[in-house]
Amino acid sequence: MAASGTKKPRRVMLILEILILIGLLVVPLVTSDFHTIIATRMLLLAMLAISFDLCWGYSGIMTFGQALFFGVAGYVAALLANKAGYVQIWGIVPICMLVGLVSSFLIGWFLLLGKRTPTIIFVALGTLTASYAAERLVAGWQWVGAGNGMSVWDFMKVGSYELEPGPVFYYVILGFLIVAYIASRWMVRSQLGLVLAGMRQNEERLAFFGYRVQRFKALVFSFSGMIAGLSGGLYAFHEGFIGPGSMGIGLSTYAVLYGLFGGVGTLLGPILGVGAIETIAFILSDIDALKPYWPVILGVIMLIVVAYRPTGIMGLIVTDRERIGSFGYRGGGEPDAGGKDAKEDTDGTA
């Protein structure tokens, strides 16, 4: 409270959060069901984008295979519905999160927790390989529909209420997105987040301080996989379909794009990125001449963002200082002092 003067710049972010929340809340009220369904898909993709941001923006794990966890969970959800006839949301959601968590932990354990510190490139291409291999495997596996994927005919159920794509489904997904966002935000603003910020700045120094850097990375990676799994499972029910493309490098690339375009290391950026890219895609999809070249345009956008505007959209709106923010207090000691210390430590990070 006393330090409100120094915390002033932090407000832009908060205002932005509130504005986006209000915006998202009113979408189904002001648009048709058709547009609401498209907006729901964007929310699901936003969760995937957040999970990418946690990896790349906060812990320096370049993941080109984030869709893997999304797709695996989606397939599990589709299999539960089609083969076991189980569609209760209370079961589907935890199972999908668990699937995402376990699969990302296994990949993370393999890629990150080795004898030798893995390079960014090793992790990037390792995740790419995993995603590519998974896509190939699923596309050739008859039991899960091979290249055609699987349709999910049943709606997800809450008790006996059937959750059809539409406004209600939208609010359910929005609820999950808010929970995922708050959980992620809490994590990156806690003392753990401070360690992650230190890692981004100088991984070696953190390691010399005695932090087991790779374990932190594996932890964040697993957490992000859990969020990706959550969105994947819900996506399968929302779209009524899951295919090999949902776990391959195509969607993984999109996750990277959303994150980079919106601005990594902000959590809010990926949501904006999904909104911007998917809206443009939706408008352009009416123009037939441009349609086949849309992915090319995306590539050009990515190139420009990477080379000229590494902070993405968020970089235009908020200052670096606010983007990095402050971190939770250590237990004991005076809260304000802790807050200031944390800030001083990280002000130099960009």
Binding site: I120, A133, W141, T253, P292, M302, L303
Partner: protein
Amino acid sequence: MDDAIKLIFDVMAFASIMVLVVSGLAVIASLMGIFNLGHGEFVLLGAYTVFLFREWGLPIWLGMMVAPFVVGAFGAGVERTVIRRLYAQPVIAMLATYAIGLIIREIVRGLIGGQYYAIEEPLSGSFQLGGISFSVWRTVIIFATVATMIAAWMFLTRSRTGLQIRGALENPALARASGVSTPKLYSVTFAMGAALAGLAGALMVPLFSLSADLGVRFLVQAFLSVMLGGIGTFIGPVAGGGMIGAMVPGFQWLREIPGVAEQVSPVMAEVLVFVTALIIVKFWPNGLFSAGRR
């Protein structure tokens, strides 16, 4: 016995392609510290050049001769316009190459319309040797690879530019201090790496069919090869590429063993290659052939 010789011959042909792809990737990665994520698409571009020549009604072999130069020039252009700006941040440069790869892949997809095109061999047929028939084109691939590798080796060890490249690899700051223009070297190297990819792409189109997603497959395999062989030496990536290149068809042939084919589908065999390679890398994180350096 005859079958075994034929199998080894075929495996060698596939391994040769991989050696070409990987050497291009490795020369860029070891000198500049940038892992070119668009390398697979450079291969695709080489293949597409050949396809274009066929579309225009020009001889295919001409397309194959031109492809390395086209892709090399393209690589030089990319280096000039994008990569050069990002030498200080290798990770950002990597993302940029990924974006470039994405652009190439999607343009090619738009141009060929998501189809698969088979391109015939410029030298078809086979010849007899000791009662065994060998495909002429695969022989050409093997010899072209060997010749290219020898040329590259000679270039690196005998020529003045090669000496400068090795110097810059050892110690860039000292190389610059000695009056070697490292940016120029990087340009040459990047173009050379791209040209090797283009050559590989051009030579291999008759064996694989042309499709937009061709590059991804080569990128993944090339990555595993570099990891397997280790970086920084000449022999490491080449040997790694040979191993991965041999494993891919090799695992497919393992399915010939009675009882295996029912259990393992062709796709499964391909994925098993990845798994095997990653497990080897897990236990030998420096690669199998790295000479104690990095």
